[in-house]
Amino acid sequence: MDISSINPFLLIASLMVSATPILLAAIGEAVVEKSGVLNLGVEGMMITGAVVGFVIAVNTGSPALGFLCAALASAVLSLSFGFLTQVLLTNQVATGLGLTLVGLGLSALIGKPYEGIKSPTLPSLDIPLLSDLPVFGIMLFSHDAIVYLSILLVAAVWLVLTRTRIGLVLRAVGENHDAAHALGYKVIRVRLIAIMFGGACSGLGGAYISLVRVPQWTEGMTAGAGWIALAIVVFASWKPWRVLLGAYLFGGVTVLQLNLQAAGLAIPVEYLSMSPYLITIAVLVFISARGNQGAPASLGRPFHASS
C-alpha cells in the first residue's frame, strides 16, 4: 500500500465534487424543515432528478438543460408530497417514505433504456486569474458551474433566512404555525413553496450525480445520498453554513475511503465502503447527545386552520 500516492490537494478538489450532490439536497431540505415540514422523500426526488437530467442531457446534448429539467421534475414531484401533507393532511413521515418509493420506481422505469450510455458532461469553469494560481488554482477554482452554484445557494439561503422579511415569515411558520396563521401569514402557501424549493435542489443534486460524478445512469445510483442529506441537516442544527461544513466533511470521508481503496489499504473494500454510513451514525449520535438545538418547533406537525 502507498499512502503517499494520495495527493491532499487533489483530495480537496475531489471532495468538493463528491460533496456537491449532498450539499444541494441538504440545503434544500434545510429550508423545507425550517418551514416546519419534514420531507423524507429526498432520496426519491434526487433519483428522479438524476434520471430526468440524464435523459434530457443525452437527448439534447445539453447538460445545462438537463440540470434545469431535473430541478423542474423534482419540484413537480415534491408538489405531490406537498399536496398530500399540506392539503390532505397526511402523515409526513409515511408520505415522505412513499415519495422515496415512488421516485425509485419511476426512475428505474424511465432510465431502463438509457443504461450503459455515457452522458455529455459539464466543462470545468476555470475562474480567470484565480485558476492559474499554483496549487489553489486546481484545488478551489477550476470546478464546474454547479459546484460554485451550490456554494452561492448556501450563501443565498443564509441571507434570505436571516436577513430578509421572507425568511422571517418562513421561520415563523416553522416555529409556531398557529401564531403565524393568526398573524395572517399563509402557512400552507409558504410551506408549499419551501417544499418545491427543496424538491428543485434535490433534483439538481441528483442530476449532478448522473451527469458529473459518475456520469452514467444505473438503477438506484443515489445509494442513500438523500438520506445522508437528511442526516446532515440534523448535524448542521438547521444552519446553512454548517450544512456546507457537514456536506464537505462527509464528502471528505467518502473521497478518502475511495482513495484508500485505490491505494490498496489492507482493509477489505466492504468495510471501507460502509464507513461513510457508520460515520454518519456516529455524528448523529454525537449531535443528538448534546441535544437537538435549533430544530424548528413545528417540525413534522400537521397544520389545519380549524383544529
Binding site: 390532505l88 409515511a94 412513499g98 415519495l99 428505474a108 477489505p268 468495510y271 451514525i281 448523529l284 383544529s307
Partner: protein, 359 residues
C-alpha cells in the same frame, strides 16, 4: 368552496373502505401508465391481479408462490406496524432481515455436515437474534442519546448490505463452490432446510410463523397492557406519560419485536425459497413491508390481507414481465403509488368533506 371538517373520531367505515378505493385508484392510474408504455392496460391489470390465481396455465405454479411471497411481507409488516402505531419509525427492516439471514444461515453452516433435529430450531433462534440485535442499535441510541431512529435504522441497511457482500465472498462462502460467491445451498442440507410442509402449497415454516404472529399481534394490541401502552404512546403521548408509560420501554419493545420478526423472515427466506446467502438474495421485502403495514391500516388482520395482495402484485408483475414485456420497475412504481393513494384517501377517515363556507 370545499373545506375539511375534522371528525371527532376516525370513521370506522372509511377505515375499511379507503384501502379498497386506493387499490381501485392505483389500478386506474396504473392502467393509464401501462397505456403510455404502449401495453394494453386492461390486459395488464388482468394479468397482474387475476391470472396468477385463476388462469389454468399459471395458477398451479403461482398459487403456492402467493404464500411464499406473502409470508415474509406479513412477518415484517406486523413488527413494523407495532412501532408505527407508537410513532417509532423503524424503516431499516431490510437491514434486520439481512442480518437475521446471515446469523441464522451462519448457525446452520457451522454444524455442516452434522445431521440433527436441533439445528433448524437453533437457526431460527439465531435468525431472530440477529435481527433483534441489529434493531437494538437504533433503539439503544434513541433511548440513550435521543438519536433519530429513522436515519440510524436506514443507514444500517447499507452497512448490512456491505456485511452481506463481505460474508458471501468470505466467511460463509461455499468451500466447494469453485470460487463462485455465495454460501452452501441450505436446501441441500436436510437439517437446515426450511422445506415446504405440504406439497405444492407454498406453506413453509415462515408462512406458519406469519399466521401465528398475526394472532399474537391481535391479542397483544387488543387484550394486553403492553399493546395498550403502544397504542397510547402513539395516540396521546402526554396521556401516556401521565399514565406512567416509560417511553424507553416502548421503544425497546417495538424496535426489538420488529427487528426480531424481520430477522426471522430473513432466516426463513434464506433457508427456504432463496436457499443460500448471496450478495443479492434480499429482494427489498423490508421496504415493501412498509407499504403492507400501511395498506393493512396497521391492524394485524388488515396486514394479513394486504400481505397477500402485495404478494399478488409481485407474482402478477413477474407474469406481466413475461407475457407483455412490462418493465420490472413498473411494479415497484405501482406499489409506491398504492401507498400514495392510500395516504391520500385517509383524509376521508379523519375529516368530513363539506361544501360551502364555515358556519
Amino acid at each position: 368552496m370545499i373545506r375539511l371538517e375534522k371528525r371527532l373520531e376516525p370513521s370506522r367505515m372509511m377505515t375499511a373502505v379507503t384501502p379498497v378505493i386506493a387499490v381501485v385508484l392505483t389500478m386506474i392510474v396504473g392502467g393509464i401508465m401501462f397505456a403510455l408504455l404502449g401495453k394494453p392496460p386492461l390486459e395488464a391489470i388482468r394479468i397482474i391481479f387475476w391470472d396468477p390465481l385463476f388462469d389454468p396455465n399459471f395458477a398451479s405454479y403461482s398459487r403456492p408462490q402467493l404464500l411464499v411471497k406473502a409470508g415474509p411481507l406479513i412477518l415484517i409488516a406486523i413488527g413494523l406496524s407495532l412501532g408505527f402505531r407508537a410513532g417509532i419509525w423503524n424503516i431499516g427492516a431490510e437491514g434486520q432481515y439481512i442480518m437475521g439471514a446471515i446469523c441464522g444461515a451462519g448457525m446452520g453452516l457451522a454444524f455442516y455436515p452434522t445431521e440433527s433435529w436441533v439445528i433448524f430450531p437453533l437457526m431460527v433462534l439465531a435468525g431472530g437474534f440477529g435481527g433483534w440485535l441489529w434493531a437494538m442499535i437504533p433503539a439503544v441510541l434513541k433511548t440513550r442519546f435521543n438519536t433519530n431512529e429513522i436515519l440510524v435504522s436506514l443507514m444500517l441497511v447499507y452497512v448490512a448490505e456491505a456485511i452481506l457482500a463481505s460474508v458471501s465472498q468470505g466467511l460463509l462462502k461455499n468451500p466447494d463452490g469453485m470460487g463462485f460467491p455465495g454460501s452452501r445451498n441450505l436446501q441441500q442440507y436436510p437439517s437446515a432446510a426450511n422445506t415446504e410442509l405440504l406439497a405444492n402449497s407454498g406453506m413453509h415454516w415462515g408462512v406458519v410463523s406469519a399466521f401465528i404472529v398475526v394472532i399474537f399481534a391481535y391479542i397483544l394490541l387488543t387484550r394486553h397492557i403492553s399493546g395498550f401502552h403502544i397504542r397510547l404512546t402513539g395516540e396521546a403521548p402526554r396521556a401516556a406519560r401521565f399514565a406512567g408509560v416509560k417511553p424507553a420501554r416502548v421503544i425497546i419493545l417495538c424496535l426489538g419485536i420488529s427487528g426480531m420478526l424481520a430477522g426471522l423472515a430473513g432466516l426463513f427466506e434464506v433457508s427456504g425459497p432463496a436457499g443460500q446467502i448471496t450478495i443479492d438474495f434480499n429482494t427489498g421485502y423490508g421496504f415493501t413491508a412498509i407499504i403492507v403495514a400501511f395498506l393493512g391500516r396497521l391492524h394485524p388482520v388488515g396486514i394479513l390481507l394486504a400481505g397477500l395482495l402485495m404478494a399478488l402484485t409481485y407474482i402478477g408483475g413477474e407474469l406481466a414481465q413475461l407475457m407483455l414485456g412490462l418493465p420490472g420497475a413498473s411494479i415497484q412504481l405501482f406499489q409506491g403509488m398504492l401507498l400514495f393513494f392510500l395516504l391520500a384517501t385517509d383524509v376521508f377517515t379523519n375529516f368530513r368533506i363539506r361544501l360551502g363556507e364555515a358556519t
